[in-house]
Amino acid sequence: MFEEIQNAAVSVMTHIFETMFFTFLEPEEENEKIPLLSRNSMPLLKGEIGFRGDYSGCLKFYLPLGLAKTMASNFMGLRSEEVSDFQAIDTVNELCNMVCGNLFSQMDKRSVWDLALPRTHLISNEELERDRKEPRIMIDFDAEGQPIRLIIQIDPEGIQRTKRE
């Protein structure tokens, strides 16, 4: 199940970044010793959205504010310096929505998935480290030189139920 979700997540992320943010995305190699995100020195944003369907859990995105502003600027057709922090955060919320909605409907069109409302805020490197240690699917991407991390957490009860089925 995890491999199927991971492959679908890469495909959905790549498609959304190209279509809405005009940015090419490459998954980083798993053996990369120091992921791009850990080398980042800019303020970090964390976007998250809960989902509930055949199983439940949440998606979390970690990216520098600078990348969020680039995405917002490409998304809205504005110059980077015209993008406010609010618009950058709103864009990450929309990213959460699009990835979560597309990911599960792509994997199973017949099931109904309820999405929570996304939320995005600034985080510290400590929170980034703490979240990295939780059980999850974690994929690091290179967005034209800027890092973005996706973590997918599925509630253990959901995993048990799926295994039994």
Binding site: H15, M20, F75, D90, E94, N97, M98, G101, R110, L115
Partner: protein, 128 residues
């Protein structure tokens, strides 16, 4: 003829992108109106003439499907065409939306051409 378009989405950024895509599509817009959820949209409809509604599903306070249910009960609003622009892709939810009377559906992420094609089709149907 110019049409008044109500865009209902809780993301201000997405509303701007949708409005821009509608403009690029060549659709002649009289006025754009914006709402952040279904309740705000219903309030706007009380005070403005609207020819077309472009709405998300997943929104706070009143979601897109709840809003359509209310619209369909009101004589004044039940014939306004509604197009959903949403991340939702579940067949069951779309069947529910079409049963409620939506005129079209665009899944995010979208190309502006997707909006143009649907708007052209709806307006041709409306004029026939």
């Amino acid at each position: 003829m110019a049409y008044n378009v109500l865009v209902v989405d809780d993301s201000q950024t997405m509303r701007k992108v949708i409005m821009k895509s509608v403009m690029i599509s060549g659709f002649v817009v009289g006025e754009f109106l914006e709402a952040g959820n279904g309740l705000e949209a219903l309030e706007i409809l009380k005070h403005h003439w609207v020819d077309l509604i472009l709405a998300d599903i997943n929104m706070p306070l009143m979601n897109g499907l709840e809003m359509i249910r209310v619209l369909k009960k009101e004589d004044m609003f039940q014939n306004i065409p509604v197009v959903l622009i949403t991340t939702e892709g579940s067949e069951k939810r779309l069947e529910e939306a079409y049963a409620l009377g939506i005129k079209g559906y665009i899944q995010k992420p979208f190309h502006p051409e997707a909006i143009r094609d649907i708007l052209n089709r709806i307006m041709e149907e409306t004029c026939v």
